[in-house]
Amino acid sequence: MTNEPKGKPDGRGLTRRGLIKTAGAAGAGLGLGAGGFALGSASAAESDDGTGTVPFRGERQAGVVTAAQDRLHFAAFDVTTTSRAELVELLRAWTAAAARMTEGELAGPRNDEPLLPPEDTGEALGLLPSRLTITFGFGPTLFESAGAGRPTRGAGADRFGLSRLRPPALRELPPLPAEAIEPARSGGDLCVQACADDPQVAFHAVRNLARIGRGKVVLRWSQLGFGRTSTTTRAQATPRNLMGLKDGTNNIRAEDAEALDEHVWAGAEAPAWLRGGTYLVARRIRMLIEVWDRATLSDQELTIGRAKYSGAPLTGSDEFDQPNLAARGADGPVIPRDAHVRLAAPQLNAGTRILRRGYSFTDGFDEVTGQLDAGLFFISFQRDPARFEAIQRNLGRDALNEYVKHTSSAVFAIPPGTREGTYIGQALLEA
């Protein structure tokens, strides 16, 4: 529905999509009409010419099972206002702006007032919608008096009266193996995950949401991702992460409805406002790429348990052959005991699976080591963050740990989607 062309969305006829509006609409046969729900966002237009849009409205939020776009701008915010009414106002404004921007529109109506700043910052003018998705989430600290480690801003014990609605599963992760967490890059009251095939479109989304939020929220940290490291639909080709490995082969896909229900979407165990939503775990994982680069080919393959070039498991020949964890060679298991795909496999994790949707990042240069500050901004979606936690504990013996270090950690509840006229988190704030 929402990716159908609008007549004059801003009353002025100026849209980002401009001339390509019709082209964008051509691939948008899935709309169900105003007020209805689109059927999951994965099936949205997947054109790679930049004209495709992904509906913002729907039963679920977009950006989870949506075919992973190429770029990411992730931002975590702290709420500074202590007024619940202002928080609601913010979420309404964010919802409206997100709905517009994902359609390729400006964040707000254009103004031509010489003495007013423009409503939209402008850097996405003339750019294509680029399958932008904007996904909102609520951090554990939103349900507390004030965020962890921050001074209380005069609010009472429960600043927004939300603590009774906080799901027990929503909490910061405890200390886990292979990490050196930097608090300044971790946590947050709210999150915005903006994904698009054009980096400037993703940036524009976060920037304008931050601007709309000024006075009510402040940016706590943000992360750019320059290349996807996962596949979330069957049609997508598997990309490579910065270790040069195919990543996403054994991921949960949009088409795996059963696996999504079992492992990703929150069910009856969650409070009503979150049911049908999920939890996002974000971990900035620094790769020691200089060390990795001098590991032998054989060592690299044994570390992960898959062949470097084909991506096939060491027990198979095709990328999509299932790893055979029981296979033994002369010196023990063919996929070593400390191989990443063994320790992360459902068979070693009580059947648990997660949906991975991470991005490669680089933040330039590490001033302590003089090395490239780069890695994988790991994002996963699961029906309980404890599932991520259990897998990460199991990865304590992972051979990969020699080459990686988790430097941030954040957990957010991702509420279900919105329909026309509702705002994100409405069921939480009006419960």
């Binding site: 001033e367 080591t369 003089g370």
Partner: protein, 291 residues
């Protein structure tokens, strides 16, 4: 069992390499804990064929590992005695030099089950109730200034070090594993010494740093006669890089040891890190030449 000194137990055995075994009982190891393989003329240098040279390299490196393991047994006993006697200051003094024997042969420990995490595991990488070994004691000494309640931990440590010594005396090595072990030792430096995470309470990272470099050098020295034949230019390059590495480290020596790591500036650590990278990059060419 087909052992390997790389940190992937048994992995490199999957490569097609000539397996060179050594008779563990045959080579008399000295207990001289200061000797590195570099200091003595070796059998490897006089061997005439590649096969003999590799066999001699394996012998020589195995002897090095046994020497270091024996020295670790002794130094750990001394350290543990101080801890058990409640002599905090003395234990702190012995701590960094007791550990160097471990750091020189760490890939051997990594290849066998949980020896590495048990002896050398760091807070956070191991569930708190299972955490023992050197770093657990380090924290008690530097953070709490106390040795209270450490008896089970020190007893475990002595056991684990004894197991490592047994492994060192029993296991067989292969030439590519030795080369890979050298590269892995420098990987250890890049991953945890450069950042000061290894010795986060005592800040004695430079002792470990040098020991890792020495361990890597021992492997390289053992393989050198073979490498001289295969690629003399590479040998010259690696030697140059080792020299530059030691030159840099020399700048931080104080007395018998080093300055504390938290006195280094980012510029210092950057310089050290880049030299490790330059050295390790050239060493990473070695495994394929001896396999």
């Amino acid at each position: 069992m087909n052992a390997t000194i790389s940190n992937r137990g048994g992995r490199l055995a999957t490569l097609a390499v000539g397996t060179i075994l050594f008779a563990a009982a045959g080579c008399g190891g000295s207990d001289d804990d200061e000797s590195t393989a570099a200091s003595e003329p070796t059998t490897a240098e006089t061997a005439s064929t590649d096969g003999e040279a590799l066999a001699a390299a394996v012998d020589e490196y195995a002897a090095y590992v046994r020497r270091e393991a024996a020295a670790l047994t002794d130094s750990t006993a001394e350290f543990v005695a101080a801890v058990d006697a409640g002599e905090v200051e003395r234990a702190k003094e012995i701590y960094p030099s007791a550990r160097v024997h471990f750091e020189r042969i760490e890939p051997v420990a990594s290849a066998f089950g949980d020896l590495d995490p048990d002896i050398d595991g760091r807070a956070g990488d191991i569930p708190p109730d299972e955490w023992g070994g050197y770093h657990r004691i380090e924290k008690a000494l530097w953070v709490h200034g106390s040795t209270k309640g450490l008896e089970p931990i020190t007893a475990e440590l002595v056991d684990d070090v004894g197991n490592l010594d047994a492994v060192a005396n029993r296991e067989e090595f292969e030439a590519p594993d030795i080369a890979q072990g050298s590269v892995d030792l420098l990987g250890e430096v890049s991953a945890s010494k450069i950042t000061g995470e290894e010795e986060r309470y005592s800040h004695t990272d430079l002792w470990d740093f040098e020991a890792n470099v020495q361990g890597a050098e021992a492997g390289f020295d053992a393989l050198k006669p073979t490498l001289e034949r295969a690629d003399p230019k590479l040998v010259a390059e690696i030697e140059k890089q080792f020299e530059a590495m030691y030159d840099l480290l020399d700048g931080y020596r104080r007395g018998d040891g080093f300055v504390l790591y938290d006195t280094l500036t980012p510029k210092d650590t950057r310089e050290l890190a880049r030299q490790v990278d330059a050295l390790a990059e050239s060493l990473s060419r070695v495994p394929s030449l001896v396999g």
